[in-house]
Subunit: 153 residues, 2 copies
């Protein structure tokens, strides 16, 4: 909707210069995660290039132009159904943007994160991305991406 | 992709005659849920009419033409990151289709479910939808829909 778009246009870029992808809400879900260490629910979205790569299994490396988003919320209990854990407060939205040359320092992925509904850029300087990149080394065998495409016919 | 579409074209309808909506994979995420009673992760998708209604808060009643999907997987543990619970086996995909006249018997929503990767229709006869409708009475105050739009700027 128009107000949401104009709000996004004013989001400050991350310290490494990455801007929030404007159309990320139109990307398709790739997966979902519940993190027991953070009591947090996540949806992982993929742009069309990344969705195609994941569907065809061509993700090592992911093609340049691939973009992934993760939306993370604090756990909350559904008010009418106690066995359902559902999204509470939004903690952050974060992105991985594939450009094997531009982001060679972080294994070909540009990282960026924005905090809360205010969308405050995360990190004091461009060095913050090393923290992301180091953890994502654990997913090296799947192109530095943790999320596998959730099974669906 | 083409193979997926042709597969969907062959999915048998539910016992109440509802066919699987062909384009549901293009719908936008409305929310996510982790069910502690079923050890299951869910993504809830909304078609454009339902997404607009949810964004504008015009959901009591939801407008005719609204469609909601829920995709449900068994919990699995991420192989490289034990604190992340991620989708395992697909258990079912299910739908709510709003037509206040056609589905007046079930409070204006048509219900349908397909099981597993084989997409076997759920229910022995059209009466199965009473089970769905009865449980969804607990969400009467939000138009018989449990899922609230997950907060996002």
């Amino acid at each position: 909707s128009a107000p949401a778009l104009s709000r996004e246009a004013t989001v400050a870029p991350a310290p490494n210069g990455i801007a929030i992808p404007k159309d990320y809400k139109t990307w398709q879900p790739l997966g979902v995660s519940h993190r027991t260490d953070k009591d947090s629910l996540r949806i992982i979205l993929a742009n069309p290039i990344a969705t195609k790569a994941a569907t065809e299994g061509k993700t090592n490396p992911w093609p340049d132009g691939s973009m992934l988003a993760k939306l993370a919320w604090k756990d909350s209990t559904h008010p009418n159904f106690a066995a359902a854990t559902v999204p509470g407060e939004l903690t952050h939205v974060e992105f991985m943007i594939r450009d094997s040359k531009k982001f060679a320092d972080t294994n070909g992925w540009g990282y960026a994160r924005w905090l809360g509904m205010e969308q405050k850029p995360y990190g004091n300087d461009a060095g913050f991305a090393q923290e992301c990149s180091t953890c994502h080394l654990q997913a090296k065998e799947t192109g530095y991406v943790f999320t596998r495409k959730a099974p669906l016919p």
